[in-house]
């Protein structure tokens, strides 16, 4: 039974300021509408340009539920194409990455396409003469997404042909990407190896919300971070012994509530926001010898200090990625079904930066975000228990009320107490906006 399709009023009713209805997490119809509306109208992360450094290099992924190819065209630009032959629908590439040379060639009937998607050749083409083929969509070649933007190496796309501009969509939130990239003395990042791939049987939004949930680490991760702190104390090292890198990473998870309250949360319009305005769990990593000198050489002392003085924790780019600037990590939460999400966790190296920083980032990634991670295990447990618990008819609403204020205005940038759930509310404000913006009566009213 379709309750929400082309029913913006019903969609709006799912978010009432301090609560959200469980259907946003568990209803397959809502999932389908998210793919059709939200993921089509929003700007969604595709990949990093260093995954396709040379002409003909491609990388296949998903934007929402849409199979796409990120490819470096012969003019050096990165294009994003639907991964579907315009003939019979066959996926053009099936591996995750490779080089296709000067053109793509469908393995089924050998239709071929330039790396910008334009039709190049069809065998026995005379069979299409006088059939009107030239005027068909198939005759144009592989379809490109609506719009693509390469922002400092990060490739985003909007599937819809028209809609909000990249600048208006992200606005001030791009400062987090800037800070992550500026940490390279050359102002460039490169992907370091393949991503972790971790399958969760829960809704994608639970993972996104958890990125700015600062009241869970000391509870859910007591078994890992708390035990680590205990084991370290039992070693009874002489006072002043520097923490080993693994302890530098995991111990701050056990910081008290005050630490997280004081670290602050900033929200931007359109669902973006970050934790760690003033400090974060990444603030007290030990300095790498020689790095500051390189940064000062590249940027001058004042700017270098400003860049490294930022310690933003998690920045959420709505709808479905999180980045950690101080360690050059990006996690993408790919929605596969209402109750199925694939998490891919990438790390990047700082071009001209010290290798020890890449090693720290790789350590963070495997310790915290791997399917083998003793931290990740407890996160997954919480999400999946929630996915199952939400089946209960005892209550239908999920509470996101911490530090809620009436008539919150998400169109303004704001900094608040680091334990507020305002960023979760901000995400749902944007969720409603991009879910309904192209539903018929909303569109007509706007015209």
């Amino acid at each position: 039974m379709a309750r929400y399709s082309d029913n913006p009023a019903a969609i709006r009713d799912l978010f009432r300021g301090n609560e959200v209805h469980r259907d946003v997490y568990i209803d397959p119809e809502i999932y389908k509408l998210e793919m059709k509306h939200l993921f089509a109208n929003a700007w969604v992360f595709v990949g990093h340009e260093s995954q396709t450094p040379n002409k003909g290099d491609y990388f296949s992924t998903q934007v929402g539920d849409q199979p796409v190819i990120q490819v470096r065209h012969s003019d050096g630009e990165v294009h994003v194409l639907h991964n579907r032959c315009p003939h019979k629908g066959t996926k053009i590439v099936i591996d995750r990455a490779g080089n296709t040379g000067k053109f793509f060639r469908c393995p089924y009937h050998a239709w071929s396409f330039k790396t910008d998607g334009c039709l190049l050749a069809i065998p026995l083409k005379k069979g299409y003469e006088n059939t009107g083929f030239d005027k068909s969509d198939s005759g144009k070649g592989m379809k490109a997404v609506g719009e693509v933007r390469n922002y400092r190496g990060f490739i985003f796309c909007r599937l819809a042909e028209t809609g909000i501009s990249f600048e208006e969509y992200f606005d001030g939130s791009l400062s987090s990407i800037d800070n992550m990239v500026d940490r390279s003395p050359a102002g460039r990042l490169e992907v370091a190896g393949p991503p972790l791939r971790y399958m969760h049987h829960c809704n994608w939004k639970m993972l996104v919300e958890n990125q700015t949930d600062t009241c869970h680490p000391m509870v859910a991760h007591e078994s890992s971070a708390g035990t680590a702190v205990k084991l370290w104390e039992e070693l009874d090292m002489p006072e002043g012994t520097p923490l080993p890198p693994a302890m530098e990473i995991i111990a701050p998870f056990m910081s008290p509530y005050e630490f997280f309250e004081n670290m602050g949360i900033r929200t931007w319009p359109n669902g973006h926001g970050h934790t760690g305005v003033h400090h974060s769990i990444h603030s007290n990593y030990s300095a790498i010898p020689g790095y500051m000198e390189k940064m000062v050489e590249a940027y001058g002392e004042e700017k270098a200090k400003a860049i490294l003085g930022e310690n933003r924790h998690n920045t959420v780019y709505f709808p479905n990625i999180m980045i950690k600037g101080p360690i050059q990590q990006l996690r993408v939460f790919i929605p596969l079904a209402a109750d199925k999400t694939l998490v891919e966790s990438y790390i990047y190296r700082l071009v001209d930066g010290p290798e020890q920083l890449t090693a720290r980032t790789a350590m963070y990634n495997r310790m915290i975000n791997a399917p083998t991670s003793i931290v990740g295990h407890d996160d997954l447990e919480m999400y999946e228990r929630a996915q199952e618990g939400l089946q209960s008819d005892g209550m239908e609403w999920v509470n996101i009320q911490r530090l809620y204020q009436e008539d919150e205005d998400f169109s303004e940038e704001k900094v608040e107490n680091g334990t507020t759930e305002r960023q979760m509310r901000n995400q749902f404000d944007a969720w409603v906006k991009f879910m309904i913006s192209d539903m018929d009566d909303v569109r007509e009213a706007a015209e």
Partner: protein, 159 residues
């Protein structure tokens, strides 16, 4: 003192039995203190440090992993997982009697279960062993998962 091929092979069988029976204190005691348990993320990965691995853990991290399994607030282990290794007869690839170091390679199937879920991994384990004070110890262990690049759910015990 020399070590026979059979003793090396028996050692590998004993080790997986300890893991399957949850005898982790005995298992940790097999390790030399600067050893690493490495589980690569990429097929034929050569660098454990500067790209992501599934695991690259020193003895402190392994001890933490084991200690956590028995914690009162280890939520993902309520109820506990169980595991089961089926191994082929290990190959003894290198014997250096003088140095007292040995390398074995073992192909195995690993099954882990919790609640209603169970999964199977095909593994290749490479052990670097050393004879110290008359006892065989693990200097390093590398475990390659056949489908290392697949999307996994929780892998909670030690393959």
């Amino acid at each position: 003192m020399s070590v026979s091929k059979d003793q090396l092979i028996d050692f590998i069988y004993e080790e997986v039995r300890m893991l399957d029976e949850g005898r982790y204190d005995e298992w940790l005691a097999l390790w030399l203190k600067d050893g690493h348990y490495w589980m690569p993320l990429d097929y034929n990965q050569t660098d454990p440090l500067n790209v992501t691995s599934l695991m690259y853990e020193d003895l402190f991290m392994l001890k933490l992993r084991v200690e956590r399994l028995n914690g009162a607030r280890t939520f993902s282990q309520k109820p506990k997982s169980r595991c089961h290794h089926v191994i082929q007869r290990p190959f003894v690839d290198e014997i250096d009697e003088a140095a007292g170091t040995f390398v074995t390679k073992t192909f195995m199937h690993y099954v882990e279960t919790r609640l209603d879920e169970q999964f199977l991994l095909a593994l290749t384990a490479r052990h670097e062993l050393a004879l110290v004070d008359g006892k065989l110890r693990i200097a390093n262990k590398r475990v390659d998962i056949l489908n290392c690049d697949a999307a996994f759910r929780n892998i909670q015990l030690l393959p």
